[in-house]
């Protein structure tokens, strides 16, 4: 094995602490999974901009920061009310806050915790007639400890960490996060809201590795809101991995919302596995953070699977936001639609990389991708790169990118009606973003996001 670099030393120490503490929880497979992942992280090291996949996003600052891992989970729950504009809507709520404040853990400590407002915990076992009607909404740590069979079947099986140092690191430290399992034919009556809240307080320079597992059974329907938020300008890193499995005919509406604090690294992966005729709709809204990189990978691994990816990223100041999507059509008759929009101000930099792979057997695939950017400042920058790899011959595949500024004609029209220049700009930017925001079906959430996006632009 290669020797660990100096920057990796802290991670190794924290890993051994976790391994010692967590060895008794769950089956042996979890410990093995963690250790394999840690070995991968050790040999991979942090990516550099020499790696094609990380060409435009440097993690040098993260590597040098030598962050220490937040101890999770704490024995006592921490108040989950964080800097969220979650609004008033019916939901099952799970909060995973961590705090570095002295009053909660003593000097220098940082602890995580979890609170939950959820319906009665399901058994997670199949009914005697073989039908799986399980319902589980709760903590991943809990599900693993109770050895619920769907955890071993899926956890770490979809999000590949062999070639990805940050996913390897998350997997090495995987312990807690949201876990949702709907059995067959469940139409959940309200959304599940997972809140990952950072409050670094007196203990900055921490890293936390939230892990989410969602398994939606055949014919079941779920709305999931996965939100990350932090406050202040302290340096910390959220390194999140979410694995989503949609069985035959399952449907998921997935809102992934990021609003981290000003000094934050947010590295995230969403890995989706879609079976036959399943439908996945993703709405991703990213604001805040110093460096944000979200990778969304969907594998359409069943005939007739349908995938919709909508994204909005808003960045100002010297923020860097990198959106990377990969849609892999592996079976025939799949459709995918993708629209990512970006609004960039000041010296912000954005990267969009949208990959569509159509495997040879995925005939009759219909895939469309679009990335549109609105640049509000001369110094903002966007690198937009579509990547198509089409191996089947009977497919429809289209992509397009636009980068533009506010239209002078539109600005003048609004000003000629008495709206001052600032308000006119705000309305036009909102008009641009609304195509994505209007897709948010939970109205209070949509209103909150809209205000946030406008506030982020100083509008």
């Amino acid at each position: 094995m290669t020797a660990a670099s100096a920057e990796q030393q802290g991670y190794l120490e924290d890993f051994e602490k976790l391994a010692a503490r967590a060895s008794r929880n769950g089956g042996a497979w979890v410990g093995d999974l963690r250790r394999r992942a840690m070995d991968r992280f050790r040999s991979l090291g942090f990516p550099t901009t020499r790696d094609e996949e990380w060409k435009y996003t440097s993690l040098d600052a993260l590597r040098r920061a030598c962050l220490r891992t937040v101890d999770a989970p704490a024995a006592r729950p921490v108040d989950g009310s964080g800097p969220f504009e979650s609004g008033d809507w019916e939901r099952y709520e799970l909060a995973f806050p961590w705090t570095g404040r002295e009053d909660s853990t003593g000097p220098g400590g940082a602890r995580g915790g979890a609170t939950a407002k959820v319906p009665g915990k399901g058994s997670g076992r199949d009914t005697p007639d073989g039908r799986d009607e399980s319902l589980f909404i709760g903590r991943l740590a809990d599900a693993v400890e109770r050895r619920l069979p769907w955890t071993e079947a899926h956890l770490g099986r979809h999000a590949d960490h062999d070639g990805h140092a940050l996913r390897a690191l998350n997997t090495a430290f995987l312990e807690d996060g949201g876990a949702v399992r709907l059995g067959r034919g469940v139409d959940l009556d309200r959304p599940v809201h997972l809140m990952y809240v950072a409050d670094p307080g007196q203990a900055p320079n921490r890293i936390v590795h939230p892990r989410t597992l969602v398994v939606v059974g055949a014919g079941s329907r779920l709305t999931l809101v996965e939100a990350y938020a932090g406050a202040g300008d302290a340096v910390y890193c959220t390194n999140a991995v979410t694995e989503i499995v949609l069985e035959d005919d399952a449907e998921l509406d997935h809102y992934r919302l990021v609003r981290e604090g000003g000094g934050t690294f947010h590295i995230g992966t969403v890995q989706v596995h879609q079976a036959r005729n399943s439908r996945y709709r993703s709405h991703s809204v990213t604001t805040g953070g110093a460096i944000t990189r979200v990778e969304l990978n969907a594998l359409l691994d069943g005939e007739g699977a349908d995938c919709l990816l909508q994204g909005l990223y808003v960045a100002g100041g010297s923020q860097h936001v990198d959106s990377r999507t990969a849609i892999e059509h592996a079976r025939p008759h799949g459709t995918s639609r993708e629209l990512y929009k970006g609004v960039l101000n000041d010296r912000a930099r954005a990267v969009f990389n949208g990959k569509i792979v159509v495997r040879k057997e995925a005939q009759k695939t219909d895939a469309r991708q679009s990335n549109r950017n609105l640049i509000l400042s001369r110094d903002a920058e966007i690198d937009s790169k579509p990547q198509l790899e089409i191996l089947a011959d009977d497919v429809r595949c289209a992509h397009g990118t636009t980068i533009g500024q506010l239209e002078e004609d539109e600005l003048f029209y609004l000003r000629s009606r008495g709206l001052d220049a600032a308000l006119a700009r705000k309305l036009l930017v909102h008009g641009f973003a609304s195509e994505i925001l209007d897709g948010v079906a939970i109205e209070p959430l949509r209103d909150g996001l809209t205000s946030r996006v406008l506030a982020e632009l100083g509008a």
Partner: protein, 270 residues
């Protein structure tokens, strides 16, 4: 109300307005007629504050104030309204929200209370009837997917909502069939009043059958070359603009539309 004195303006180095003089008093309706490229739309845009045109000389007084010093939004809340020849479509911007913001900007400027959504809606419904505009248009984004006629009606509707003191209507009649023209004219006539002035910018005499002007001006090559009563419009209808061009001694329409330089421009106007 409006005093334009020796106004010169250019765009991309080409002089378009070359000494406009125009006085409009409260209660009056003026028609400015001219062939394509004569500068009539430029005049409308300059009065509304479009900054793609550079004013190179002259002055404009509106209610005694220096209009050219005012930002477009200030002109608007002070009561200047431009009805656009080509109203822009703004997908994603809700018409209701936009118009209420506009109405309330003017109200705030006058020190009046803002209209709430209910009062605004009641007013909007009443004013929409006058231009026979369907309420569904208000629920759509601004002008998005509107037909040409719908856009022009929407402009007149906006005018009646904003209640300006000086309305400059730039080819509001173009692209309208006869029924739509009657409806739009009716909207304009309802809007007429002793405190208000209207400038109709138009290529054709047609609109003036329904909205009878107090004064008609013929614009050519960036100047008002002839002014008269409403009968001047009829005269133009019969004779066309060729006499204007002949009198001015210029070449083709194209040459007037885009003079290639100062020398050519001066020749044309001599």
């Amino acid at each position: 109300m409006l005093e334009v004195r020796n106004l010169h303006a250019r765009v991309e180095g080409k002089e378009i307005l070359r000494g406009i003089d125009l006085t409009v008093k409260a209660g009056e309706v003026h028609a400015i007629m001219g062939p394509n490229g004569s500068g009539k739309s430029t005049l409308a845009q300059v009065l509304a504050g479009r900054d793609t045109y550079e004013v190179t000389g002259g002055e404009v007084l509106y209610k005694g104030q220096d209009l050219l010093e005012m930002a477009p939004e200030l002109r608007a809340v002070e009561g200047v309204f431009l009805g656009f020849q080509y109203p822009v479509e703004i997908p994603g911007l809700n018409s209701l929200y936009f118009l209420r913001a506009a109405v309330n900007a003017a109200r705030a400027h006058r020190g009046e209370e803002e209209l709430d959504a209910v009062d605004f809606m009641a007013l909007a419904k009443e004013r929409m009837k006058a231009v026979e505009m369907g309420e569904d248009l208000l629920r759509r984004p601004v002008n998005a997917g509107f037909s040409g006629g719908e856009k022009k009606r929407a402009e007149i509707f906006q005018m009646t909502m904003l209640e300006p003191t000086l309305a400059i209507l730039d080819e509001t009649d173009s692209g309208l069939d006869i029924d739509a023209l009657k409806v739009v004219s009716q909207g304009i006539n309802l809007f007429r009043g002793p405190e208000r002035a209207i400038i109709l910018v138009t290529h054709y005499q047609r609109l003036l059958n329904y909205v009878v002007p107090d004064m008609v001006h013929v614009i050519h090559n960036g100047r008002l070359v002839k002014s008269g009563g409403k009968e001047l419009a009829r005269e133009l209808e019969d004779t066309g603009y060729s006499w204007v061009e002949d009198a001015a001694g210029t070449g083709t329409d194209d040459a007037m539309e885009q003079p290639t330089g100062h020398a050519a421009g001066r020749e044309g106007g001599a």
